[in-house]
Each structure stands twice: as structure tokens, then as C-alpha cells.
């Protein structure tokens, strides 16, 4: 195999990092239970809560859509941001740094590999949830909705790369930060309720935190597009799409800068190979 440089090396690195993740999933089928069946059951709990409260039927759709998007957030958090922590523990991180490729390519490879399982998971939640609970989506603006979804993913995985840079420096501290981001983000992004309901009930400072999470505006825009007339959005979908696009660009650049900066810091403080801290 010839020597690769530049874009070819970048793409080959991505392929190489995505490969074990996709193949690993096929070799260890227990993930189907953990990643698909259980989140669906979890989502159902929120559906039944709304049914117990006699909420309007559209709320069930909001929860199902939120459950699907939650899968991506959890993937970013646990299969991407914290992955460098595990790689450090397993001794892979120092090998990544020793290799001629970039961490950005490795993280993008992780993202692609993770998207494979997560899309299956999210699609299963959306399809089965729709069938079981009789959710009716309005597909008249599916193209716009798909664009919003893709731009949300770019921003979300950009944020994941920023978070993963923290693990170059930190060990258990970073792990705890990732842990503590799970439910608070589900709350602040309105995964189980309309974002406008949240913005009307929390202090203004917290709405800024909410807005920085790509899932918030992404989900709000998707709900407005797929359930038109049944939800009051925080902003029109077009504006939310523009904000998400801006966030995506900023997050990707910031991730690049952060990864370089944190890698250097980690080298200076000899933390790249520091395990079990």
C-alpha cells in the first residue's frame, strides 16, 4: 500500500476509524438490545406520562421525535466525546498522536461509524414509536426538514469534537462532565416538550445555554416542519436553520483549534498517556 498524504490520508484515517466501529457492531449483536429496544421503551415512558396527563396528541409526536434526536446526543457524548478517554485508557491515544494523521480525521471516523448505529437506533425509535402510538407526521416539507436535520448533525458532531478535546487533558473530571451533561441537555434542549414551553419558564441566562446546544433549535425546527400548526416555535424554522449553520461552522473551526491547543497542553503536562487518573 502506497504512502498517503493530505486529503487521501485524512479519508483513509476516517475509514480506518469507522471500520472497527461498524464491524464491531455486527460482531457483538447485543448492541441491538441496548441501543434500540431499551431507548424505545424509555421513550414510551414519556409518551405514557403525556397520556396520563391527557396532553394533546401532538405531544406524543414531540416525544417520539425527541427520543430519536436523543439517540444522536447520547452517541456524541458517549461514543465520541468520551471515546478519547477510553482510547487513553487502552493506550490507543498515544498511538494516534504518534501516527502521521490528524485527530480531526480520527474523530470524524468515529462520528461516521457512530452515525451508522445511531441512525438505525433513531430510525427504529421514530418508526416503531410512530406505528405504536399512531403519530402522524406532515411530510409536506420533508426536504426542508432533511436539510435542518443534516445541518443539526454537523453542528452537533462539531460540538462533540470540542468536548472530546477536553479528554486529551482530563480523565475522570471529563468523564464526570460528560455524565452531568446527559439529563441537563435533555432538559435544556426540550427533547420531551416544546422548546417554547421551556423558554417561557426558565431564566433568560439558561435560554442561552439551551440555544448553544444544536439539538434545541434543530428539534424545534423539525417539530415546526413535521407538526405544522401544532406547536409554537421559538423562532421560524428558516432562522433556526441559519443559526444552526452558523453554529456548525463555528463548532468545527473551534474543534480544530481546541484539538490542537489541548493536544499541545496535554503534551506539555504529560497527560496524553496518563491512565487511571
Amino acid at each position: 500500500m502506497g504512502k498517503s498524504t493530505g486529503v487521501v490520508l485524512f479519508l483513509r484515517t476516517m475509514y480506518a476509524r469507522a471500520y472497527p466501529r461498524v464491524l464491531g457492531m455486527n460482531r457483538e449483536p447485543s448492541w441491538v438490545f441496548f441501543e434500540v429496544v431499551v431507548p424505545l421503551i424509555n421513550t414510551s415512558a414519556f409518551v405514557f406520562l403525556y397520556k396520563a396527563l391527557n396532553a394533546p396528541p401532538a405531544f406524543v409526536g414531540f416525544v417520539v421525535l425527541g427520543g430519536a434526536m436523543a439517540a444522536y446526543w447520547l452517541n456524541v457524548l458517549w461514543m465520541m466525546a468520551t471515546q478519547l478517554y477510553w482510547d487513553k485508557q487502552e493506550g490507543n491515544l498515544e498511538l494516534y498522536v504518534l501516527s502521521p494523521t490528524s485527530l480531526m480525521a480520527i474523530l470524524l471516523g468515529m462520528a461516521v461509524g457512530g452515525l451508522y448505529a445511531t441512525t438505525l437506533r433513531a430510525a427504529t425509535i421514530a418508526i416503531v414509536g410512530t406505528l405504536i402510538f399512531g403519530v402522524t407526521f406532515n411530510g409536506s416539507q420533508w426536504g426542508f426538514a432533511l436539510l435542518v436535520f443534516l445541518v443539526t448533525m454537523v453542528a452537533l458532531y462539531g460540538l462533540g469534537m470540542i468536548l472530546s478535546s477536553l479528554f486529551l487533558m482530563w480523565g475522570r473530571e471529563g468523564w464526570q462532565i460528560a455524565l452531568s451533561l446527559t439529563e441537563p441537555v435533555q432538559f435544556l434542549s426540550g427533547m420531551n416538550f416544546p422548546l417554547s414551553g421551556l423558554f417561557n419558564s426558565i431564566p433568560g441566562v439558561l435560554t442561552i445555554f439551551s440555544a448553544v446546544i444544536p439539538v434545541s433549535f434543530g428539534l424545534d425546527a423539525l417539530r415546526q416542519l413535521l407538526f405544522p400548526g401544532q406547536i409554537i416555535g421559538v423562532l421560524p424554522p428558516g432562522v433556526e436553520l441559519a443559526i444552526l449553520g452558523g453554529m456548525g461552522a463555528v463548532f468545527l473551526v473551534a474543534a480544530y483549534v481546541m484539538l490542537r491547543h489541548m493536544e499541545r497542553l496535554a503534551k506539555v503536562e504529560a497527560r496524553l498517556s496518563l491512565r487511571w487518573q
Binding site: 466501529r21 448492541w31 415512558a45 396532553a55 452531568s180 435533555q186 432538559f187 435544556l188 416538550f193
Partner: protein
């Protein structure tokens, strides 16, 4: 320690065995607490610890308030108390099972635990105690926040303390036993199963009537709910803290309002019936967890899974 290493593996007296188990438990509790808490100073540690359950409570509050339009009734108490105690369901089960993954894949010391005289069950339970302690602290904070800021109505004079303590302890036996069963499963699945405790807890959200009364479930799911001890434990916790069955006022469909239990199904059980169910569940789950873990541990050893690494 040397004495313990030298003693023969077979033929130890009961007294010696109990002493060794107690020592393993004590060391495991200390180790578990250090792993949980030593990464930050106490304030930061406490802040991060409380963030997740508090966010869940706020999420449920917003969901409730959006639909209930600002009203705060019996259903809110049902929901809030269930959520507070559900923290223990997650942490107790997850605490035990996470020990397997943490020791096997992260610290890579599971094989050394197995080659030491440490007793497995006291070790697993002891390691989980750190998470259990955090969960109990969290429950206290959630109840305080609920009473002070969120309109939760609890009267200390009405709390049935005796029942509360008995139910609580029986529930702990059930939860730890379930955790040991899941830890056994953890021995034979890959690292992505590390969240098995939390995902099973997620399933229990649906099947334990934690967020809604089981009465509204379809008949088959309702039977599943009634077959799970956690359903009765959560009902017992709500009931004893509330000083009786939680009631709510509903429109009767004819312009008037009626008051009744939030869950008529669970209201059928009196305290003694709940006690009997939880007692039988505690004994049954403890025995089942012992034999299941022993069996699956053998399977893991036979397949060389005790020290495998599965990160990808």
C-alpha cells in the same frame, strides 16, 4: 492480608468467612467511594452529582406544567416522589454492574480481584455503596428542593417512619440483587453494555409506574408492571412519605370533580400486603441473584471473558 493469602481456600470456619467478607466489604466501600468522589473537591463533586437528577426533576416539572397549566396537584406529588426515589433504582443497580466494566475494561483489575482472597459478593455490593450513598443524598436534596421551590406538599408529622424504614431496606435488597444479576450479564457482554444498569432502569421507568399510574397501560403491560417488585417499592415510598395513598381531583365528565387515588390499581394493596410482596421479592431476588451470578461467572471463566477488553 498475608494471613488471608496463606489460608487454604477450602475448609475455612464460618467465623473466618464472615470476617473475610466484612473486610472485603469495608475495603470495597472505601474504594468505591474514592473512585466516585476523589476526582474533585467536595463542592464540585456535590454540584455535579446533583445536576443530573435535578435536571430530570425539572424536565418532568416542565412537562407537567405545560399540560397542567400551572396547577400542582396529587399527580405532581406522585410524579415527583417517584422520580426522586427512582434515582436509587438507577444508582443501586448501575453501581453494581458498573463495577464489572470499570474493573475489567478501565482499571483492568478484575482478574486480580478474582485471583485474590476477596469475596465476590461483598466486593460487588461494597463497590456499589458509593453510588447508593450518592443516591440517598440526592433524594434528600430533591425532596428539599421540591418542598421549598416547586410546591411539593410533604408533612413530616404525617410520614410513616416505621413503614418507610422497613420498605426502604427491603427495596435495597431487591435493587442490589437485581444489580448482581445484571453484573453477571456484564461479565459476558462487551463494553457497550456498561450502561446496562441504566438501560434496565430506563425500562423500569415504563414498567414500574414511576412516571404515571400503571392503570393507563394496556392490559399486557399492566400485568408486567404488577409482576415487578419495584412497582410496589415505589408505591410504598410514595405512600409512606405522603402519609397515605396519594389522591388527585379529576373532572368526572359531567361538569363536576371527583377525588380519588392517582392509581386505583395500586391503592388496592394495603401496607401489610405491600410488606409481604416486598419481603418475598427480597428473599427471592437475593437467592436468584446468588445462583445466577455463580452460574454465569462459571460461563465467563470457561470462555475466557473475565479479563477481556472490548473497546472499539
Amino acid at each position: 492480608m498475608l494471613e488471608a493469602v496463606r489460608r487454604p481456600a477450602r475448609g475455612v470456619s464460618l467465623r473466618e468467612s464472615v470476617r473475610e467478607s466484612a473486610r472485603t466489604f469495608r475495603v470495597a466501600v472505601w474504594l468505591g467511594w474514592q473512585i466516585e468522589s476523589s476526582w474533585a473537591d467536595p463542592f464540585v463533586f456535590f454540584s455535579f452529582t446533583i445536576l443530573r437528577p435535578l435536571a430530570t426533576a425539572l424536565m418532568l416539572l416542565v412537562m407537567y406544567q405545560i399540560v397542567a397549566q400551572g396547577q400542582s396537584g396529587g399527580f405532581f406529588s406522585y410524579l415527583y416522589l417517584s422520580n426522586a426515589f427512582f434515582v436509587l433504582v438507577i444508582q443501586a443497580m448501575a453501581g453494581v454492574v458498573w463495577t464489572i466494566f470499570d474493573d475489567r475494561e478501565n482499571y483492568r483489575m478484575l482478574k486480580y480481584i478474582y485471583t485474590s482472597p476477596a469475596r465476590k459478593f461483598p466486593y460487588l455490593i461494597g463497590r456499589a455503596m458509593g453510588k447508593v450513598a450518592i443516591a440517598m443524598l440526592t433524594i434528600l436534596v430533591l425532596l428539599t428542593v421540591g418542598i421549598v421551590f416547586l410546591g411539593l406538599h410533604l408533612n413530616a408529622a404525617q410520614i410513616e417512619w416505621g413503614w418507610l424504614i422497613v420498605y426502604f431496606l427491603l427495596g435495597m435488597v431487591v435493587l442490589i440483587s437485581l444489580g448482581i444479576i445484571l453484573a453477571g450479564v456484564g461479565l459476558v457482554v462487551a463494553r457497550h453494555g456498561g450502561s446496562i444498569g441504566e438501560v434496565v432502569a430506563g425500562m423500569l421507568l415504563l414498567f414500574s409506574g414511576a412516571y404515571f399510574p400503571p392503570d393507563i397501560l394496556p392490559p399486557v403491560l399492566k400485568q408486567v408492571t404488577l409482576a415487578l417488585p419495584i412497582t410496589y417499592w415505589l408505591e410504598a415510598m410514595r405512600r409512606t412519605l405522603n402519609g397515605g395513598i396519594i389522591t388527585a381531583t379529576y373532572p368526572d365528565g359531567h361538569g363536576a370533580f371527583i377525588t380519588g387515588p392517582v392509581s386505583p390499581l395500586l391503592a388496592q394493596f394495603d401496607n401489610w400486603q405491600l410488606l409481604l410482596i416486598l419481603l418475598l421479592s427480597a428473599v427471592g431476588s437475593a437467592v436468584a441473584s446468588f445462583f445466577f451470578y455463580r452460574w454465569i461467572e462459571f460461563q465467563a471463566k470457561e470462555r475466557g471473558m473475565i479479563d477481556r477488553l472490548t473497546g472499539y
